[in-house]
Chain length 307, copies 2
C-alpha cells in the first residue's frame, strides 16, 4: 500500500485571535503527508526554493515519508499569508506568492508512478492532470480544488472530475462548482460531473460524504481550544486517504471511517499553529480520539414502543 | 406521562428566499406541542387575543393536545415578523408585538400542576419562574431563553438555572450567557450556573448536548429543500421532551436519542412554511427519518490492525 501526494510545501505567515507566526512550515502536501504518514506509507511530489529550511521536514522522514520527489530549485519557496478572526471558519488571504511553484512541472519517479492511492492537492487542474497521467494504475484518486480554479480553469476541472473517485472541497467550492446553494444538491451535481464520491468539508461543523445511494455526516470534534485552522482540510485529506490505504478498502463502510479519521486528525492540527501539533502526534492518541468520536456521535435505535 | 409547555401562540409574518406568508400560525408553544404530541400527551399554557383564528388549532386537539390552559383575552394576539436571507441560520426580526402577552399571568389548572415534564418556552424568566413554582413535582424541566432576556433579566435567569435540567439555547445565546466564545466552554459555564445539561442548537449544523462527563453531537438532517426555518428550535424541543416523556427516562442514552428526535422533527418543520409540514406528519414518517439519521451518522470501530 502507498499514497502519493502532489501539492505545495510552503512557508506560511498566519494571524489568529490567539497569536501570530511568520514563515512557519505549511503547504497542502506537508499537512497531508504529516497526517497520512501516521497510517501508511506516503511519498511527496512538490517543489521548494533555495530558501527552504529542509531540516524542518526531518520529522516527516522519521515517519517514513518519501521526500525524493520534492525538488529543490532556484528561487523562493511558495508563501501564503492569511488572517483569521473569531469566526475561524473563514481565512482572509492577505498574500499568495507562487514563486517556484509557478514553473513547477512534476515528473514522477518510477516508484511514484506505481502509487496505489493519489491525493491531488489544491493546485492548477492542469498540473493535477499531468500528475494523474503519470500514475500507472491508481486504485483511488482524491482531488481538492478551490474557488480560483473553479472560476479560471473550469474546463480542465471538468476534464479531471470523471477520473476522480473522491472530490474533496468545502461548502463554498461545491456550491460554486455546481451553481447551486443547497449543499446536498450541489454534491449530487458534482457527482453528475463525474466524481464518484464527494466530501464536503464544513470547517468546525464537520464533513459530509455523498456516495451513490447514501449520505454520511461526521461533526467536527468539539474542542476547547482552536488556535489556528490552517491545514485542517489537508490534514483531513491525509487522515482520510491514509486510512483507506491502510485498510486497503474503498467501500462505503471504509469511506465513513475515513471521514471520521480525517476529522480526528484535523482536530489535532487546529490545536496549535503550523504543524506543531502533528509533529509528535502518535497513532495511539489518534486512535483514542477516534474512539471518543464514536462516543460523541453514537446513539441507540428507538425501542419498539415508540412506533 | 405528560408534558406541559408554556410559551407563545402567535401569528407570524415571514419572508424567506422561497416565498412569504402573512399572519400564519406560529409561536413556541404551538410548534412545541405540534411536535411533542406525536410522541406523548401535551398540555399548553398560553394566551391569545380575540383576533386569533382558534380553528387553526383543531389539528392539535385531534392529536390530543390539551388546550384548556390557553386563555383567550381581550386584545390582539402576539405577532412576530421576520425575514431570512440565503443564510437560513439567521432570522432578522422586523417586528415583535407582545400584545396580550404583555400582561400574561399564567395560572395553572390542577391537571397542569401535576405535569411530569415541563418546557419553559422563550418568555420572560419571571414568567418561567412563576410557572415553575406552580408545578408540584416536575421530573424534568427544560428551558429556552434568548439574547433579550440574557441581557435584561440576567438575575432572574440565574435564579432559574439551578432549577433547570436541560437548558436549550443556540450558539450565540450560550456564548452571551457565559461571556465565552468557545461553545464547549460556554456550555460548561452554563452547567456551573446550575443547569444540569445544556443543549446548544446550531441550526443547519446540528445540536450539541453537554451532560456531566459526556458530550454528544447530532448533525442536522441534510435536506434538499429548506423553505422556512421558523419554529425549528421549538420543534426540536418538542421532539426532545416528547421522546423523554414517552420513554419515561432522563438518562444519558435517552438524552442522546431525544436530541436526534428533536433534530428529526425539526427537519420536517423547515420543509414548509409555518406548521404546514407538522400538521399531517405521522409518527411512522418520523420513525423512518430517525432510522435514516442513524444511517447518516453511523460508522464502525476501527479494525484491530489500525493500532
Amino acid at each position: 500500500m502507498s499514497v502519493l501526494v502532489v501539492g505545495s510545501v510552503a512557508l506560511d505567515s498566519v494571524e489568529t485571535p490567539f497569536g501570530e507566526r511568520e514563515d512557519v512550515l505549511g503547504g497542502s502536501a506537508t499537512y497531508f503527508s504529516a497526517s497520512a504518514s501516521l497510517l501508511t506509507k506516503v511519498a511527496v511530489v512538490g517543489v521548494v526554493g533555495e530558501d527552504f529550511p529542509l531540516h524542518q521536514l526531518q520529522f516527516l522522514e522519521r515517519r517514513g515519508v518519501d521526500l525524493a520527489g520534492l525538488e529543490r530549485v532556484k528561487g523562493k519557496t511558495f508563501r501564503w499569508k492569511g488572517r483569521y478572526g473569531f469566526d475561524l471558519n473563514q481565512a482572509q488571504t492577505l498574500e499568495t506568492h507562487l514563486n517556484v511553484f509557478e514553473s513547477f512541472d512534476p515528473k514522477l519517479s518510477p516508484a511514484a508512478c506505481a502509487a496505489e492511492r493519489l491525493f491531488l492537492g489544491n493546485i492548477d487542474p492542469e498540473l493535477q492532470l499531468r500528475v494523474l497521467d503519470q500514475v500507472a494504475r491508481p486504485r483511488l484518486v482524491c482531488a481538492d480544488t478551490m474557488n480560483y480554479w473553479i472560476g479560471s480553469k473550469r474546463q480542465k476541472l471538468l476534464e479531471l472530475l470523471p477520473r476522480v473517485d473522491v472530490l474533496m472541497v468545502n461548502d463554498g467550492e461545491v456550491r460554486q462548482l455546481a451553481g447551486e446553494s443547497n449543499v446536498l444538491r450541489a454534491a449530487a451535481a458534482a457527482q453528475k460531473m463525474g466524481a464518484r464520491a464527494v466530501v464536503v468539508k464544513r470547517g468546525e461543523y464537520g464533513a459530509l460524504l455523498a456516495v451513490p445511494g447514501e449520505t454520511f455526516y461526521a461533526p467536527a470534534f468539539p474542542l476547547h481550544d482552536v488556535v489556528d485552522p490552517t491545514g485542517a482540510g489537508d490534514s483531513f485529506a491525509g487522515g482520510f486517504l491514509g486510512l483507506l490505504d491502510r485498510l486497503d478498502d474503498g467501500g462505503p463502510g471504509a469511506l465513513r471511517q475515513a471521514v471520521v479519521m480525517g476529522s480526528t486528525i484535523a482536530s489535532f492540527t487546529v490545536e496549535q499553529f503550523s504543524l506543531d501539533r502533528l509533529r509528535d502526534l502518535s497513532l495511539a492518541q489518534v486512535r483514542q480520539r477516534f474512539a471518543e468520536f464514536r462516543s460523541l456521535t453514537h446513539f441507540e435505535e428507538l425501542p419498539g414502543h415508540v412506533a
